[in-house]
Symmetry: C2
Subunit: 300 residues, 2 copies
């Protein structure tokens, strides 16, 4: 099958209790594609400026990410700055410089339009809708979003939601979107809006996957050191969808369970170091080893 | 084997988004004993006033709880009032009237002193220590506590901690006691103070069980309606220890995994109704059914 990932490729300036890093590579599309690359050859759709490092593009290629959809434009790359406190679930955005991302309105390369799986990472819901319209007959469409769009473009967001099969969100976003505190009720409300599966990411508490007559819970791996939580959610989505693409499964509940665990595995690795650093040493064997650890963690 | 449970038997006035109940039966010893009674015949140690309802004592007897250690004193029963908001993990204590609990200094009935398992629910740590000294040769000692004692009697608390095998606590308490945000690190710090197992209860996010070279995670059951969260933690401990008493296991890691799940099962039921109401209709089969549901919930 094939998987396209639409999101941001960016510079992040990050401060956590473990230190500060200036303008390291980040972005939802980056984390998601790198994670998916452990299972399949994802096709990325994003835009960067001329200041974006050539070696990162080489790294994408080495990980067999298809970069035909990665546009390089005159100007500067999207730059986001954030700070985390002692609680990795709490972060404050310090700065957002959209730069070339401001006019991001991609035309999918012809080869991308037959994609089987489409992931619309967190970008303007109108843009998500435009891009989705360019894919001919996707078998599975997944989306993510953020509080900004829930607050400023709820109608556009709900319009996209009707067209997707899987909605990835964190617990706060699900509660905000549905005005419902209980996550099971909130998830069920979202299922009524279109998706057949809602994946509620809960940071250090793992994730809850809800469908009609289906519920699966996956823990977060009990990490001693959360060096940089950035990208955990996107890595979860990348591992999840990359795995489904690899096993050519769309609706198989057993595969969805495994996909959730692989998502959690990738998320648990990425937070061990700043930015995408951990991906540079991560091996296929590491991924399989931690998948087994997750089994031990919850089996009884 | 045999299990004694030392805690409060009380009146609770509870307000949640589902309603308000005045002076219904509650207390850590109550929840813990009722939960344990699904596995063994727990021996309760507590004090109530003359106003305590006879029918609840009959209910304890019907559930084969040994009430020789339940003292009835002239005066009024301990009364606690609390309010929960939309988030069941957040509660405010409105009122605490100790009443007969003020002078609670129990002498264990002779038949209790040979107990194999001792659970010291959340009471003054000096009292926990006194009571523990009355048990001849316990095979397993477990304790719970609360933020009040962590703040006001940390030395007494640490003294008891050295003598126990299992420490039950919620995430907030573990962080407060160790001044460590990361729960795995916090748990490891506590393991160095004495216990061989730390059970970190995380409300709607389940529980994390940590030992030396041992980690097990159990989800909370995804409940749609959390009517009254009171007693969930004590029910967890009761199910956990009741099960260990039943299977006569102290150190068996597989049994500890199952005990954790049974703890979560009992906690998931008690919150479905106010106070101890749910225990009145709960059957052995219900408990086993949900144990199986927990397997389905996490298996992959």
């Amino acid at each position: 099958m094939s998987l396209i990932i639409v999101g941001s490729v960016a510079f992040d300036t990050i401060e956590t209790p473990y230190g500060r890093r200036e303008k390291i590579v980040g972005g939802s599309g980056t984390y998601c594609s790198l994670s998916a690359s452990f299972f399949t050859q994802p096709e990325i759709v994003a835009v960067v400026g001329e200041d974006f490092p050539k070696e990162t593009i080489e790294f994408f290629k080495n990980r067999r990410i298809d970069i035909r959809g990665l546009e390089i434009r005159p100007g500067k790359t999207f730059h986001w700055e954030a700070r985390y406190g002692d609680d990795p679930n709490q972060r404050s955005t310090i700065r957002t410089e959209l730069n070339v991302f401001q006019d991001f309105k991609p035309l999918l390369p012809p080869g991308y339009r037959q994609a089987d799986i489409v992931f619309l990472a967190n970008i303007d819901p109108d843009l998500q809708d435009d891009i989705l319209a360019q894919v001919q007959k996707p078998k599975l469409v997944a989306m993510d979003t953020m509080n900004l769009w829930i607050n400023t473009k709820p109608d556009s967001l709900l319009k996209v939601l009707e067209k997707v099969n899987i909605y990835f969100a964190n617990d706060e976003e699900v509660r905000m979107l549905t005005k419902e505190t209980n996550l099971v009720k909130a998830g069920n409300k979202i299922l009524k809006r279109g998706p057949s599966l809602v994946v509620i990411k809960k940071g250090e508490h793992g994730a809850l996957v809800l469908g009609e007559d289906f519920v699966f819970g996956v823990l977060a791996y009990p990490c001693k050191e959360v060096v940089d939580p950035t990208g955990a959610g996107d890595s979860f989505a990348g591992g999840f969808l990359g795995y489904l693409d690899k096993v050519r499964a769309i609706n198989d509940k057993n595969e969805i369970r495994k996909a959730s665990v692989y998502g959690s595995v990738l998320a648990s690795y990425v937070i061990e170091d700043f930015g995408i650093e951990r991906f540079k040493s991560l091996t296929q064997q590491d991924v399989e080893d931690r998948f087994s650890d997750f089994k031990k963690l919850v089996s009884f």
